[in-house]
Symmetry: D2
Subunit: 150 residues, 4 copies
């Protein structure tokens, strides 16, 4: 069965973070892994764009009820209407998670993933969270994912 | 954007119902619609099998936390850990719903879909529910879906 | 431990249904049972009002995020932000359920309760649902609850 | 309308943390505020015990389906069956939150509360989270709550 890799991060971000997300998304797609994210803009869009550019498949688990809120690089859009409750579903749908930058929503997802012992890779994100494996770039991140996946 | 069609029904069913589900799944896949279901066996498996046989894409929104509980015809498996709470997510992820046979879980999904005015097509399922459009066979069901989709 | 009895029904109803809900709420409160409902108006308000008039305790599990949407007879208001997803929480919080009149939301709750084998008493509600125990009046309803509680 | 104060923290804790939770619970109950927690043992039990000792009311929002998993100081037990998904409901049900010690589950709750701009008071918990107001003892914590409540 395929691996599902979550990419979590804020819905608005500066261009360099968007590119970072796009690069990690590309590496995920290149490996044939399925990318799971929150489906909106910012880090979620960058990651989905990169994954699709590499020929990968993307799943967006949306906070609202409207599928059209998904960014254009989402292949499968799942509207939940749960608001921040969809954060937990992203974690439950992912075998490992990459946190890219991000705010409180991302921090909640990091914590929910660590709570259930899923690998969390950090890229330029919340610092000094015990349990997060910090990577310096996307290639190191996918290397950690490969090493840590069950 | 693609249409997402939910197929709802029991996790265990006699062979003729399985074939009915497979046939409706096939018609869904043939039209390029994305099939959403609960991801388990019975009607969900029959529908997913038919959809994949027609070259379509299937999404399984699972009640448990274990992705491997998905039947082998699910392309994208979303474990939720919400138990019956995932029924609502199936409805929220679907633009229209086809109910095939089914028990109380299916009845809850029919009601949740009608509550938010989504088209519900009934195939050999709970009878006399006002608002359900009853079809005699899979072709009539997809005809109704086509007519009722926004 | 106390019994928790759910009263489910529509958020708008004619005066006789409101009185029916108030009467069943009164009988629930009189017995020291905790009343669980959706916290809004109509049947939910009538039931909560009756329960409080009998000296009972009421819990309202709200669909939105705003506690002030609760009717004035709710002692404990739990905002969920889950929309119709809160229906399942009402069922999970109740040891038995009384359905009073109601529409599709109520039907979904009846089905979710029957799915997990919780007693469902029907008062002037959806007819001919196998598994529902239909009562002619509030006293018969509480008699059935007493008989069916674990 | 009454204030609802969440107390979040781990389900197992050393005796001094239990006493700290009991003291903050006592101050909450003394002020007539309703205490919301996860309903289990450890910090949740200490806080609920203190609140009831002060004559207050306690609500436990449980991860499982079994009401009897609640600690004996919970007045209103709400089984959700959502697992860690109930963390979000604790936050949505609280007007302000006090974090006492705690692990990843508590961190997720801190983040979810900060995400929606609810006051978060920290007592001997995750350090250096921007937005958390750290208190040195229960009296300072309730002082902060009083100052920060809308």
């Amino acid at each position: 069965m395929n691996h599902y890799i979550g990419v979590i991060g804020a819905g608005a971000c500066p261009a360099p973070i968007y590119e970072l997300a796009r690069n990690i998304g590309f590496e995920i797609g290149k490996r044939g892994w399925i990318l799971v994210c929150g489906g909106l803009k910012g880090v979620m869009e960058g990651a989905a764009k990169g994954c699709v550019e590499a020929g990968g498949m993307t799943v967006g688990i949306l906070p609202g009820l409207d599928r059209t809120s998904a960014n254009p690089h989402i292949n499968i859009a799942v509207p939940t209407g749960l608001g921040d409750g969809r954060n937990l579903l992203i974690i439950r749908s992912s075998d490992a998670v990459v946190a890219v930058s991000g705010g409180y929503g991302t921090l909640s997802e990091i914590a929910l993933a660590l709570k259930v012992n899923k690998p969390v890779i950090g890229l330029d994100t919340w610092k000094n969270i015990p349990g997060v494996r910090y990577a310096g770039d996307p290639l190191e991140a996918v290397g950690l994912i490969t090493a840590l996946l069950p």
